[in-house]
Symmetry: C3
Subunit: 349 residues, 3 copies
Amino acid sequence: VEEELAHTLGEIAGLVGGRVVGDPGFEVNGISSLDEATRADISFFIDRRYSGRLKSTRAGALIVGSELPSFQGHQVVVARPDLAYARTAALFAPCSGEARGIHPDAFIHDTSRIGENVTIHPGVYVGEDAVIGDGVVLFPGVFVGARVRIGRGTVIHPNASVLHDCTVGREVILHAGTVVGADGFGFFQDGSGSVKIPHIGSVRIDDRVEIGANCTIDRAALGTTWIKEGVKTDNLVQIAHNVVVGEKTLIVAQTGISGSTSIGRGVVIGGQVGIGDHLTVGDRAMIGSQSGVAKSVEAGGVVSGTPAVSHRLWLKISRLLIRLPVLNSRVRSLERKVEELERRLEGRM
Amino acid sequence: VEEELAHTLGEIAGLVGGRVVGDPGFEVNGISSLDEATRADISFFIDRRYSGRLKSTRAGALIVGSELPSFQGHQVVVARPDLAYARTAALFAPCSGEARGIHPDAFIHDTSRIGENVTIHPGVYVGEDAVIGDGVVLFPGVFVGARVRIGRGTVIHPNASVLHDCTVGREVILHAGTVVGADGFGFFQDGSGSVKIPHIGSVRIDDRVEIGANCTIDRAALGTTWIKEGVKTDNLVQIAHNVVVGEKTLIVAQTGISGSTSIGRGVVIGGQVGIGDHLTVGDRAMIGSQSGVAKSVEAGGVVSGTPAVSHRLWLKISRLLIRLPVLNSRVRSLERKVEELERRLEGRM
Amino acid sequence: VEEELAHTLGEIAGLVGGRVVGDPGFEVNGISSLDEATRADISFFIDRRYSGRLKSTRAGALIVGSELPSFQGHQVVVARPDLAYARTAALFAPCSGEARGIHPDAFIHDTSRIGENVTIHPGVYVGEDAVIGDGVVLFPGVFVGARVRIGRGTVIHPNASVLHDCTVGREVILHAGTVVGADGFGFFQDGSGSVKIPHIGSVRIDDRVEIGANCTIDRAALGTTWIKEGVKTDNLVQIAHNVVVGEKTLIVAQTGISGSTSIGRGVVIGGQVGIGDHLTVGDRAMIGSQSGVAKSVEAGGVVSGTPAVSHRLWLKISRLLIRLPVLNSRVRSLERKVEELERRLEGRM
């Protein structure tokens, strides 16, 4: 089996648009970090901080940004070695992905429409009038509710749930345990308690989105919670009802975005951030980890902290915060000196 | 199909206890926000901030708190337009909810007892001696452990798990992926590591509780973790072993409550809050988002921040926190002035 | 049935290595807290704070660290009453755990290897070439991917997922909804968006680890995300790609550890902590709840706060933080006094 995974450097150079320094016929059967690579592996050098490891690596070949005279093995030289690493690693991914059809132990509603070349594992549920595109892979335990549409080439991992009437685009990845389309959290109070606001909207997830494991993306009260093209979220992220997340935005783990907030495109949101409701975060803004965002953020803004302010200011505040005891002592010292000054001036009056 | 969802304004007014200004026979087949409504929709005006949208809305009818002379379409006037909106929206919810019986691909233990008019989807598991009340809906992938009791009219969404010996009341909603009854986190240390404290208690969830998606509500070590009547939680909320949450309390997303803490009734807890163990939060208290609560909170208390203090004080602290660099400069300026004063006084002695 | 759970004090004393004061033949059929115990229960006294409850408890017997002359009932005296409580409670745990074999409604791939005395419930999926050890229990909805290895005596609770190529040791507990082996969050940016870094590494979980409910432990990009022997995590914990967590470390709920960070052995991490990427946390360090750790922590370090500093310093900072309004007033008062001093000195020049 191992042999099937072997690739020549010439093949890899062709894939990534690079050139081989050394033997294009040299075969590698895996990719590893500099530390862990063996003679049969290709590795990569994309981070200057690891240059010390170049001497000790046993990798048979390296992906590099420019030729390294000091390295003894073969090299694939390419303008963007990071992207070349990503593409090469994909060669060695263990999941082959050939279509396996619909397993008889999956439940597929009669009225659903299923595309070509799908893989639907045992224990999957596909509801009424759902539409499953070509090449879709649904792992065991996946729930696809009534009238859901799943676009071509999308992969949904085990035990994830896409509830009724939601739409998932093409080449989307939903990781295991994620829930798309639970009711948003909204209630009115009457005399006797909470009256549930029916959530009759839906969720729309556009093409090439990737959602981490055990995330929750809530259904809109009315209208649509909308995750636009190319958005990537990490695990355990909460996206509330009626939120819009713009194209290519990145959201790190355990962040929560409150209801009706609109996030722009190309935004980067760190981990464990909380963003209030009905706010706007402009395009290309960056929000530091663990921030608490209670006001809208302008396009290109870089904010951190709780309450979130400009990242530069937050760095200053952080440094001063941990020196609060010193500041307090300085104030006490000033108080003593001023008292002394007052006494002396008083005494001389 | 659309026609089946049409309702007259007279019908809606009857449902919500309002009166029609305009034509009671006017039919709407959906409900939408002011922005998105079409001529065939009813919309609603419940938030003054959106009064600007009244001019541009294309809604055929509006639910309003008092007659709006400026609005051209039909109106349903009602004392509480928010509640009327919630009730009207429920009319248009796509899930009909008629009982579908027990699907043959569900696993139902012989010793369990199943009520009337239930809907048990394929892929559900119901364990030994479990009791499922009338009208209960269990979506695919739901796990109901041994001796669990589920009350009348409760709905459990896909891939949620209720572990052995837990009790769920009537008309409860558990959203997808939620876990009720995992062991609490408790260990004693002996010389060689952690000794697990067996969690032989259970979880009790009372009537009309709603728990968000991917939440975790842990089983008590001994006794009961208890979520009382009418509590509503958002997604990804953690409730530890032996916690008690009082009636009608609201808990926003990603909040965690540590072991043996007792939360009163009518409490409102914001998102991403952490509450320590063995504390008491009094009735009707309010806890701001991202707070870190390390001390008990009295009834009616309004607290925020880390460490949590009165909300009013926290607002002051927040404002001063982001002005720490200014405060620091003021102290430095004072230091220079005092030094100068000292020098001058010294020179004149 | 109740009778089957009855145990004599002599039996319990034997189990925990203690001695009986009173009647060794006295039978108890449950264990409860001091408050909730009945005459047929054994209770325990391990926390001085609850000594007031000794007078009012109705427990028929007590586990104690030293004989209590004031208590009327029977006693089991033992050096470590906490450990004795844990062991006694295990006697009364409702899940018997006898092997039930492989249910016909589980899906077991032909090429997998299944040990002796397993319990594989309906709705479980076991993939190609997976290896399931002796005595393993897989609850309904569990997904075990291709080539996964599960060690002897491990229990995986409902709807948890262990993805392809991951390894789980012996006597591990994975609680419901947890996801092991989702892709890590890693992308390179090219001109048009995010290029996914293929995650072709895996997750290794060693013996006697316990992972809470709805956690996420990501697969390494290359190499291994490694959770070492005896680690215990609470619920909703996020462990990113390539993280290493040392032996016997404890991690409380909702904490997140970023990519490639290495946590030592015997570390204790509070709830809702965020730890940055590529950091090192030394052995036996302690990290307070809600901390934001942006720098490595030395062995034995005790840190808290955001940014995390020594716990002692953070306590000081916290106290001063909530007195910022007072500090601000003191500075304003100093400013007035200094101005007055300057005026007076000026006037006298």
